[in-house]
């Protein structure tokens, strides 16, 4: 479903082949090493309780098969992760205690993930390898810490709450580590700041991470009473969670598609040049990332940039080739106000409407409201840039336009935004 197009602030083109950060290859390499190493080690020593390993491996595989993509291009496989956590935390099955090593846990999970991923790869939907590697590595950390001490905690004694607390603590720790890794990859990919992506990642992974952790712990502990049936029973609540998240991700994608498509009505109406809204939106997002904007702000920026010209629909005659930068300031102002009024009408996009309303104010602001929000300042610059350059990819022209924008930075345009724009444009292997 959601594999088709990137959600929110992740235009695929900001993934230039030449400038990929080191974190992602490092993490993937490490995951491959761990997988191969543990698999070899386990093959040599043999599998402990192969039926149990098989049951968990199958559940991991099925969970991976049903993976979903959350908004922001995040791939998760809740059921696979929960099953893996349960296998790492498994203490007894019925009254029979289990004694598999951490190596075996990692090997089983690695094989399960790989098998679950195969059908996806065969139909051409290869996973985000970074996310897949993170799933394996965070599980590895969990298993490596917990398996050696499994002898000291048991469900029989009075100490069940100790093991419960320990498990919960470990899950939280691994969630934090995983967020760090995800944030590092994301910061590299989007050319933005690590601190910002870390906060975004932690926030994005928290709800689903809590559901995964709770289910994993529950499966591990309840295997004492119910045996392997616990796997089936407690996958059910998680399945409900997954379905809810999946629908949420779908509607987010749909929303974006709708706004993208309808932002083109201005082009069809001959008000702006073909592709203008789309280009301004992509450029704005790249600039926003460069300036370290938060994910939620980037989404608003994308909506605002796509719809920034919607006010032109109320004009009687289209501006020549739609270039608002060439229109009189008063006219620009009115278009912005009209567009903002239209967007405000939706009742749900007030902050987007605000960005659109203030998109043509000078960088220091012109009323009593102070300077316009960063998003508005970015749209002002990127819109002017695209109006002046158009579809041309000529380097000289780009440089000349940048120069012109820069000359106006003391009043009209925000200097830091123009700098960020030029950084984005000068990036090697990038389309701009």
């Amino acid at each position: 479903m959601t594999e088709a197009a990137p959600i929110a602030p992740a235009p695929a083109r900001t993934n230039p082949p030449h400038r990929i950060g080191l974190t992602r290859p490092l993490i993937i390499g490490l995951a491959v090493l761990v997988a191969v190493g543990t698999l070899l080690a386990t093959l040599v020593t043999g599998f402990d309780q192969p039926q149990v390993a098989l049951a968990f491996g199958v559940l991991v595989g099925l969970g991976e098969l049903a993976r979903i993509t959350l908004p922001g291009h995040r791939e998760v496989a809740p059921i696979a992760s929960a099953a893996a956590i349960a296998y790492a935390f498994l203490i007894t099955i019925g009254t029979e205690s289990v004694s598999h090593t951490a190596w075996q846990v990692i090997a089983v999970v690695a094989v399960g993930l790989l098998l679950g991923e195969l059908p996806h790869i065969m139909v051409g939907q290869s996973p985000h390898w970074g996310d897949l590697a993170r799933r394996l590595l965070s599980l590895s950390v969990l298993a490596l810490v917990f398996r050696p001490i499994v002898g000291f905690v048991g469900p029989e004694g009075e100490l069940w709450w100790v093991s419960l607390g320990l498990m919960a603590g470990l899950v939280v720790m691994v969630w934090a580590l995983d967020s760090v890794a995800a944030a590092a990859i994301r910061a590299d990919r989007l050319h933005t700041r690590f601190r910002v992506t870390l906060r975004d990642e932690m926030r994005a992974q928290l709800p689903i991470g809590m559901a995964i952790g709770a289910s994993g712990i529950l499966m591990a502990l309840s295997a004492y009473v119910m045996g392997l049936a616990a796997l089936l029973v407690f996958t059910a609540p998680l399945l409900v969670t997954q379905v809810a998240f999946r629908r949420f991700a779908e509607i987010r994608l749909t929303y974006l598609q709708t706004v993208r498509a309808l932002s083109r009505v201005t082009e069809v109406g001959g008000y702006v040049e073909t592709g203008h809204s789309r280009r301004v939106s992509e450029l704005s997002q790249a600039v926003g990332c460069e300036l370290g904007m938060r994910e939620s702000d980037l989404l608003e920026l994308e909506y605002a940039a796509l719809m920034h010209d919607i006010g032109q629909l109320s004009l009687r005659d289209p501006i020549p080739s739609g270039a608002t930068v060439l229109a009189a300031p008063r006219e620009q102002r009115r278009i912005a106000e009209l567009g903002s009024a239209v967007i405000r009408e939706t009742g749900v996009l007030d902050s987007v409407a605000e960005l659109v309303r203030r998109q043509c104010e000078p960088s220091a602001g012109d009323g009593d409201d102070g300077p316009p929000p960063l998003g508005s300042r970015i749209i002002k610059v990127t819109n002017a840039f695209d109006d002046l350059v158009g579809e041309s990819k000529d380097a000289d022209r780009t440089a000349a336009v940048l120069q012109r924008l820069r000359m106006d930075t003391d009043h009209e345009y925000d200097g830091s935004v123009v700098d960020a724009l030029s950084a984005v444009l000068n990036r090697p292997a990038s389309r701009w």
């Binding site: 088709a4 019925g94 469900p155 069940w160 709450w161 419960l164 709800p207 689903i208 809590m210 559901a211 709770a214 289910s215 712990i217 529950l218 502990l221 309840s222 004492y224 009473v225 119910m226 049936a229 029973v233 407690f234 059910a236 609540p237 998680l238 409900v240 969670t241 379905v243 809810a244 998240f245 629908r247 949420f248 509607i251 987010r252 749909t254 929303y255 598609q257 709708t258 706004v259 993208r260 498509a261 309808l262 083109r264 009505v265 069809v268 109406g269 001959g270 919607i310 629909l313 109320s314 004009l315 009687r316 009115r334 009209l338 239209v342 009408e345 939706t346 009742g347 749900v348 996009l349």
Partner: protein
């Protein structure tokens, strides 16, 4: 509650009194007080969180699994006490509501407990050899619980006069089945909570409920995004027609009519929604037609008519990237086809025309006729129906026309009232809109 009807007062009183009697009379043997208190606390917490997360919606909440765990762990009387604890829920609610909720939960729990015991279930943490046969009596108990729960609430609503017993036109099986299934699912979890109570303790409930609460939260997010999406779509459609004061609201009315027809034809809820989208977006391509052609009062030249004929294709081009529109795309592209093959853009005839397009075409023309245009005043719904019937078979699909007639007969049709054009400087012109071109041909011939 101030103006509570006497019947409702009596009803609530009876429920609460009955529940209290059950709890006071006992018997209490076999109830572990610690477990009872923990269960009650968990039930209250779960119920509070679930109303917090999922505000204002009725339906079965995950907290029912705590109450059904009580059925197994502390028996019928214990379950009644746990259910009654919902009086203590953390949220603003008046006393009568609290008492009634507590009473009905207590009753449902008590009945479920007796059903469970009658069919051979015991009290206390079930031991391993009780599985899997314990599932049967428990499933029946869950059924009894949710049935009694619904009946008691329905009884109150009936006393309040909020619902009248009526034969619904079509019973909505799908949502009903979904609700029942989810409530059964939550209920069954109660058994498993009871089973692991010994090993994991009261935290079992929390661990089970965390994913469910998060699911509710995510589902809520989904619903609010869905709403945001719908209102954004509607607003952007309306923005496109702001220039033409006469066609304002056209897209929303066509969407409504299309939805009515689809409903009348018995389409599934999803398809009804798709038809609504098709109606909403059918004229979005109008924007690509030069304004001066749309505004032209006299007869159109060949070239101008060709330009107008482009608008369905333009519309299709704008929205084709939107995945969910799906069938609606065909409806947008072909809404000016005629059954006799004389329409545009492709000249399809009869069944070749996609169903969505035949539907939207009727909805579109119906709204055109019943609203005022710059060149004529609005027709009444009756006249419009006569006209539609006259053209059924040649221009329209008779099935769609009849469906519209039935729907309008039943629900009525509000003819849009026209407020005087405001002298907004940027909204200066009335464009007679393009579908009018074809309608005018049809309509004009009757009158001349």
């Amino acid at each position: 509650m101030r103006a509570l009807p006497v019947a409702a007062r009596l009803y609530v009183g009876l429920v609460v009194l009955g529940a209290t009697a059950v709890m006071v009379l006992g018997p209490f043997d076999g109830i572990d007080p610690g477990t009872l208190v923990l269960l009650a606390v968990l039930f209250v917490v779960a119920e509070s969180i679930s109303t917090l997360v999922h505000r204002g919606k009725t339906g079965i909440s995950p907290s029912s699994s705590a109450s059904l765990a009580a059925v197994v762990l502390v028996g019928p009387v214990g379950a009644a006490i746990v259910g009654f604890a919902s009086c203590l829920i953390f949220r603003r609610q008046d006393l009568v509501k609290r008492l009634f909720n507590g009473g009905q939960f207590a009753f449902a729990g008590y009945a479920a407990g007796h059903v469970f015991q009658m069919l051979g279930g015991g009290v206390g943490v079930p031991d391993e050899d009780a599985f899997p046969w314990i599932v049967l009596p428990f499933a029946v108990a869950v059924l009894a619980y949710s049935l009694l729960n619904s009946l008691l609430v329905a009884g109150l609503l009936w006393c309040l006069g909020a619902v009248r017993i009526q034969r619904p036109r079509r019973v909505m099986w799908r949502p009903l089945a979904t609700l029942e299934l989810s409530s059964l699912g939550y209920g069954m979890l109660g058994l498993f909570i009871a089973a692991i109570w010994g090993a994991v303790g009261p935290f079992a409930v929390l661990l089970v409920l965390i994913p469910l609460f998060i699911a509710r939260w995510a589902f809520d997010q989904y619903v609010s995004q869905q709403r945001a999406h719908d209102s954004t779509l509607a607003t952007l459609c309306q923005a496109v027609e702001t220039k033409d004061y006469y066609t304002r609201g056209h897209c929303m009315r066509v969407a409504k009519a299309a939805g009515m027809i689809a409903d009348e034809l018995g389409m599934s809820a999803e398809r009804v929604q798709t038809m609504r989208y098709a109606g909403m977006l059918h004229d979005i391509g109008k924007l690509g037609v030069p304004t001066k052609i749309l505004q032209k009062a006299g007869k159109l030249t060949e070239d101008e008519f060709a330009a107008i004929q482009l608008h369905p294709m333009r519309g299709y081009e704008i929205v084709r990237e939107i995945d969910f529109l799906d069938e609606a795309l065909a409806g947008i592209m072909h809404h000016h086809e005629r059954m006799d093959g004389g329409g545009y853009p492709m000249g399809l005839a009869g069944e070749e025309i996609p169903e969505a397009a035949r539907l939207v075409s009727v909805a579109d023309v119906f709204d055109c006729l019943t609203s005022t245009r710059s060149y004529r005043t609005a027709w009444s719904a009756e006249d419009a129906i006569i006209e539609l019937r006259r053209c059924a078979g040649t221009q329209f699909d008779p099935r769609m026309v009849e469906a519209l007639v039935r729907a309008v007969d039943r629900e009525g049709w509000e003819v849009p009232d026209l407020v005087e054009p405001d002298e907004d400087e940027c909204v200066t012109h009335h464009e007679p809109e393009a579908p009018a071109a074809s309608v005018r041909v049809a309509g004009e011939t009757t009158r001349s």
